[in-house]
């Protein structure tokens, strides 16, 4: 499936999505968070992208981006989808009703980047210890330099 076809088939149903070419995939789909479940149902049932590869998140300080990768065995292609939520209210609907395999991915994105997945069946920490109150992959979580070792950086 080429990018134009993906765009034609998606934009008709979801006028708010933007499809752009992306790294040897069918394309990168940017979508508003409200249509998440409907869009993924269409991707799975209508377009055949039925294998969820990953769910991840990036902290852009003011906003947080959540990205998804789907694979279609029929098309032999990936599609990359992403949406953004404000950092002040990082809420997003859980994808588990459509792709049950999103469960652990969303637990990880929640504990590491602090995305609150609404209606997730089991939002517990996965990798960090119980009671750990930080979201370590936020930009505000600084790795400190080892004591006594000063690394000087110079422009060249």
């Amino acid at each position: 499936m080429e990018g134009e076809e993906l765009s034609r088939r998606l934009v008709g149903k979801f006028p708010a999505v933007v499809v752009e070419p992306f790294r040897e995939t069918a394309g990168r789909v940017r979508f508003p968070p409200e249509i998440l479940l409907d869009l993924f149902r269409e991707m799975r049932d209508g377009l055949g992208f039925d294998h969820l590869g990953q769910v991840g998140a990036i902290d852009w300080v003011e906003e947080r981006e959540v990205f998804y990768t789907l694979w279609s065995d029929r098309e032999k292609q990936y599609v990359f989808l992403s949406t953004r939520v404000p950092a002040s209210a990082p809420h997003l609907e859980s994808l588990t009703p459509v792709f049950s395999s999103a469960n652990w991915h969303e637990r990880e994105a929640w504990e590491l980047v602090g995305i609150e997945f609404d209606h997730h069946p089991d939002l517990r920490p996965l990798l960090t210890p119980t009671g750990y109150e930080f979201h370590p992959l936020l930009r505000s979580f600084q790795l400190h330099e080892p004591e006594g070792l000063e690394v000087k950086v110079r422009d060249v």
Partner: protein
Amino acid sequence: MSEMWINMGPQHPMTHGLWNLRVKIDGEIVLDVDPEMGYLHRGIEKISEDRHYNEIITLMDRTCYVAGIAWEHLFILAAEQALHVEPPERALWIRMLSEEFQRVASHLMWYAAFVQDIGLMSPFLYGMRDRDLVLDLFQSYTGGRLTYEYMRVGGVRNDLPPGFAEQARKVCDWLLDRFVEYDRLCSGSDIFHRRCDDLGVVKAQDCIRLGITGPMLRSAGVPRDLRKDRPYAAYDRVDFDVATAETADVTGRYVVRMEELRQSVRIIRQALDWLDKNPGPVMADNVPRWMGAPYAPVGREGYLLKREYPKGVGFSAIEEPHGEALAYVVNEGGEHPYRVKLKSPVFVNLSAARHYLVGYRVADIPPIMGSVDICVGEVDR
């Protein structure tokens, strides 16, 4: 009998790494399971945000400690896209050769651990012995046996040493003979089949629903292999078959991995032939020399040099020994990546544990989990 929760792990012969499987049992029957991960969480993705690209290669080796070079390959493919670098052709073939050797080493390690789980001691020693031959080859051209730091943005660190091809061909011949022996020991044995048949069944449509990839998916009859479906490196220029099985059980996964070992040797032989005929550079010209150097960039006065790269994103997918691995690298122009996201196939295969363990007996858990081939390093990262 009353129901209860028991812990299998974090120190348990079944776990092969540090993780805990909580199991709810009624007598011998498994009613529910809940894997507890995180014992090996080192924050590799976070540390990567604070490291130079060369330094991240070191971290990638530690991501999966039995398939280090496959993870280097995954990261390098994404980093090259993000940094707009094109490697020379010979480097692609050496990377493919390395990845296949790594697949052989990883599958032999799996074989050794798996047969020990089901109570066979001698095949364990045979598997480890033959894996050592592959590690010797790795040592001869990367210097490392487990963690290699061999691949670089723009190519690989050094070319293969003289005499490597002959040695590698000898190992290939030896391995092919031994694989016949393995088959006679295991899949030709009635005891093996009684222990493993119809255990941990995950049918094809369930695999896809649960996101399972790799040998587990192929054992359900789905011929999905990224080396064929979405070729990277030089995989579109070698002949090999995708191994599949129909039974979708523990035996099926064994059959798939055994066939993959033979196919890997087939790819290695073709790669060795090509490399013999096509000498050339192994690093791209437009990469600064220090990027190919074995150590981090250090200037005249011992200061680290500050570099700026053009912005870019990279997305790569490879067929790692355990399944589909994905990397997403965002470069915002600094000298460190802004974000590195790694997706491990074992992470997903393990998240479906409830599906393939519930209903079986406690004694079935070690062979089933053994057949999943767990590497905790890449789950926890």
